[in-house]
């Protein structure tokens, strides 16, 4: 057991899976970095966010493939490779670039098994980054996991800490279906996401939520960075005698519907904190699930806390106002309890 940042845990899982199965390859822009530079030094970067550093050195250029800036092309290569015997892990640097390669996920990876009558598999993992907070503005801050969650045939993972990231990534790579693995940029070095993890490799099954805190008054569903915001609020409110159950679904597809429904059955109140979208997002999806299947348990309106329906602004104070805040989450929780939202600040 050792404490590890989420960044290191992801790197470790990649290494472990590449060692375990030589059909696992990595492909993406600058995932090694440095090729044909004048210094001769390779493997200098591990991607712009430094996640895949060291893999080239260990596994060689045949399995760690730096691509041209051709998202549609290399994603298609990854899908074709996955359908023919490799198990590619493709990196899409920012999920915001999905508009440059979307067809290969939406119409190819997601559908070939179904369209081909079950006679093929597409064991592809797309590792990509999500999330605001880095002042990266509107084209590098989105959390478009609602787009891929909506697509039948894709599985979608949104880990919130190092332990989950390592175990879920191992599962993703061993899974025979295409998986979109969404890493929140702010979590790579986030202290609370750096947790104890076992020495030996392990997997975490998809579709099993993690109960971050247990509680009896209100259920809060949150993913990725939002899990930590929710947990912070839960801790603060517990000091005020309010008991919050924070559920981190970990995978949005498949979704652990039962855990959410059971929790709401016992608390009767639901707040969803979600960075994906103010419209047709993951938050609305969970709200609809509960409004249909745990309706009779509900004691209060469901609250969905999301960014506003506007692009992510660049300017830091605006961006902070855009990201769902602990204050807004606390306010929503108190509101569902019929309490004055101002209590949160007190």
């Amino acid at each position: 057991m050792a404490e590890m940042a989420m960044r290191a845990a992801i790197n470790l899982a990649l290494r472990e899976e590449m060692r375990r199965d030589e059909r696992v390859i990595m492909i993406g822009t600058d995932i090694a970095g440095g090729a044909q530079g004048s210094s001769g030094a390779e493997d200098v970067a591990g991607g712009v966010l430094g996640i895949t550093k060291g893999l080239l050195s260990e596994f060689g250029a045949g399995r760690v493939i730096d691509t041209p800036i051709s998202e549609m092309g290399y994603m298609g290569v990854a899908v074709g490779a996955a359908a023919t015997g490799l198990r590619p892990v493709a990196e899409l640097m920012f999920i915001d670039f999905i508009g440059c390669c979307g067809d290969m996920l939406l119409n190819q990876a997601a559908k070939i098994r179904y369209m081909f009558g079950g006679k093929s598999t597409c064991p592809l993992v797309v590792r990509t980054t999500i999330g605001a907070g880095a002042n990266a503005a509107a084209q590098h801050s989105q959390s478009l996991y609602h787009w891929v969650t909506a697509v039948p045939g894709l599985k979608v993972v949104v880990p919130s800490n190092a332990y989950d990231a390592r175990g879920l990534l191992a599962t993703a790579i061993r899974d025979d279906d295409p998986v979109i693995f969404c890493e929140h940029k702010a979590l790579y070095d986030f202290p609370a996401a750096a947790v104890e993890i076992p020495d030996a490799s392990y997997t975490i099954p998809f579709g099993e939520a993690n109960f971050v805190t247990e509680g009896t008054d209100v259920t809060v569903v949150a993913l990725g960075l939002m899990t930590h915001i929710a947990a912070g609020v839960a801790a603060a409110l517990s000091g005020k005698g309010i008991s919050v159950e924070v559920i981190d679904p970990r995978t949005t597809s498949p979704l652990d519907e039962e855990s959410i429904l059971e929790s709401v059955a016992s608390t009767g109140r639901l707040v969803i904190v979600d960075e994906s979208a103010a419209r047709c997002g993951f938050g609305q999806d969970v709200a609809a699930l509960v409004a249909e299947r745990a309706f009779h348990a509900l004691k209060a309106p469901i609250k969905v806390v999301t960014p506003p329906h506007c692009p992510t602004p660049f300017s830091p104070p605006l961006e902070q106002a855009w990201i769902p805040s602990g204050e807004r989450v606390a306010g929503a929780i108190l509101e569902t309890m019929g309490l004055d939202p101002a209590l949160a600040a007190a």
């Binding site: 051709s70 119409n107 009558g117 025979d176």
Partner: protein
Amino acid sequence: MALSKSQLLEAYRRMRTIREFEENIHRENTTGEIPGFLHLYCGQEANAVAVCMHLEDTDYIASNHRGHGHCLAKGADVEGMMLELYGKADGLCKGRGGSMHIADVSRGILGANGIVGAGAPLAAGAALTAKTLGTGGVAVSFQGDGASNEGYVFEAINMAVMWQLPVIFYFENNGYGEFTGHDHVVGSKDIAGRAAGFGLPAVKIDGTDFFEIHEASGEAVQRARAGKGPTVIEAVAVRFYGHYEGDPQAYRSKEELADVRQNRDCLKILRQKLIAGKKASARELDAIDREAVDLINACRETAKSAAYPEASTLTDNTYVSY
């Protein structure tokens, strides 16, 4: 590349079978029994057949919306194909895919594709697998002239060059993308020339001449197998029917339509060459023609009377596990 008599007869048989398959659909489509959009391969048969003669089951092809010929040439089961086109449970894709998504990965067929140009990166991916696992396999993507304008096709070509992948990008230039002439949308008027700038051999050939196709694609496959990288082939071909079944082709002159059937019919041309070259007698070829007709008729009858999939199986195979 010398071809034995049996190889030549087999090539003729395949082309003839594809022709008959497509003509059957053309006729039957008016009955309304065949669902969906249909894009016929009539006139282009020599391309699929001559190219696929160089390929094994362990090699891959990626096809496009006009994919019946490619799939049949690569060894897809004829009856399974017919059943699939009729949307039946025993179709090659259990009725899920239909004409635009026919596939048989066990035969190295990565599928017809409803997305123009998507096959090029997919084939490059199959070639990456072959290279990485050292299977000795090659991959071919078949696409039209229209697909040559999709940027990701160029992306795939560039990567194939960089990584020296065993892949052939085979452009069947039948002069039209849907209803629009090639020259209206290919600024350079030349697909092979445009591709050559990417740093790989790119040749332009006559897509109505079985032998020329066989030669050019044979060289390309050999080069790929030898680890010498990708090739682009532009084959100038002809399309007999409309873009899809139902297209009245007002944009093509009667003269052009008559000319392509009379003078540029790859099947006729092969037949004449086989007879003239004393590789086969008219009688032998007639027998093959009849067998093809019988086969297709039998498949059609099977397909017509076969069962549709059960609604209870609707969501099967969305995932391996979920």
